[in-house]
Symmetry: C2
Subunit: 243 residues, 2 copies
């Protein structure tokens, strides 16, 4: 059996009792920590479950996933994953592979930035499509996250932009402003009001509402995200201003 257990939004204590129980009962326990900046301690997590955890590389769950699936065919295997496991699309693929091989699968859910973002005060039902801001690559410059904002704006919806591993708010905004400069769609301008979020769910979390030009001066380290609000209810505005 293959059990994917969400580690939740920040550290080892965001693990659920159900997830801990599953890991304790497993024959072997792995952790993938490459899809997100996880803020926890592997040592503490090992103490909680009373067994060693092997950290996986991306290859172990992609090209070389055959090895883990073979093990899961015979034994109980748990894989810890930051956040809620299937938010990372790559993990949907390994579950699909497991099913094809008739390996029973189970997902144990946990907290995710996707809903935790409601801490900024914007109602979760007012959000449209979410996207991830990634750095421009050598061979191509992805802009789909910028487009997400366009569709949401048209419909008065808020846009949650997760920033890729290692990207803080300042850098994320610079990537957006650079695309804006080319596209000239007036979607992300220095005077656009946004919410900047850093290390949500940790003791050091920062949430701030303000104009792009002012937010850029602050320090919002990775893991970080940005919300560009759509239509705002007066109670939401009150909340945002009080942050």
């Amino acid at each position: 059996m293959l059990t994917m257990v969400g580690l939740g939004i920040w550290d080892e204590k965001d693990l659920s009792l159900k997830g801990m129980e599953a890991a304790v009962r497993s024959d072997s326990v792995y952790a993938e920590l490459y899809t997100a900046d996880w803020g926890g301690s592997l040592k503490n997590l090992e103490k909680f479950i009373g067994k060693e955890i092997t950290v996986l590389k991306r290859n172990d769950l992609e090209e070389k996933s055959g090895r883990i699936l073979k093990e899961a065919k015979e034994k109980d295997v748990t894989i810890f994953v930051p956040g809620d496991p299937l938010v990372a699309t790559t993990h949907v693929h390994i579950i699909l592979e497991a099913r094809k091989k008739k390996i029973p699968t189970r997902i144990i859910h946990s907290s995710s930035a996707y809903t935790a973002i409601a801490e900024c005060g914007l109602g979760i039902y007012g959000f449209g499509r979410t996207s991830t801001v990634v750095k421009p690559q050598k061979d191509y410059e992805p802009t789909s996250f910028y487009d997400a904002r366009e569709v949401n704006k048209k419909n008065g919806l808020h846009t949650l932009l997760l920033l890729d591993i290692g990207i803080g708010v300042k850098e994320g905004l610079e990537i957006l402003l650079k695309i804006e400069e080319k596209e000239k769609k007036k979607l992300v301008l220095p005077e656009t009001e946004i919410v900047a979020v850093s290390r949500l769910g940790s003791g050091k979390q920062k949430i701030k509402f303000g104009k792009v030009r002012d937010i850029k001066k602050g320090k919002f380290e990775s893991p970080a995200m940005v919300v560009i609000p759509g239509n705002i209810h007066f109670l939401e505005k009150e909340f945002l201003k009080g942050i």
Copy 2:
């Protein structure tokens, strides 16, 4: 201090270690169980934290919230909430009230149907706005959930429709078909392919992909939801068909 602790997607074992710790350290512990069909046992939850839990009525957190806020001004108060706490917009309001009264607040996040829905195999980044299907009222018939589908369809996005407490998939679909009959927008028809989900995150969870007319014959009890897919990737299709 006012701490809102998410109970997560299904039962008392979806609670995080962090949430348990906060409740153990609190002077008093409450639970609101009216915003969702919670599948857990209050008795077990009380055992986990070693103290009694007082169940709140809606009024205790809305019109009469002054009493709890007064207590939180002087002592450490924990309120358990199903799912991830601030997904229920009503709880954003009590946090706002607490802040106005200079009461420190803390949110401890947990799993939510919002991201757990990725278990159906549809990538979470392909979803547009989520909405909740509610029963027609005496004085008015809400249709905003039907409209959510319209905007999402136009943009090729999947629509997650949460069904209100007590509404199973069959009843939810009948509400949608009735609106369709009036509006004639061809958004939800008997031949529309959808995903029906019941009791997600529990040992009894059911996920099924099929046409509205066929799904209606099955039993998908509350808590339940429906996903109306937008553009589907071939890997997603493969996953859906295998459900």
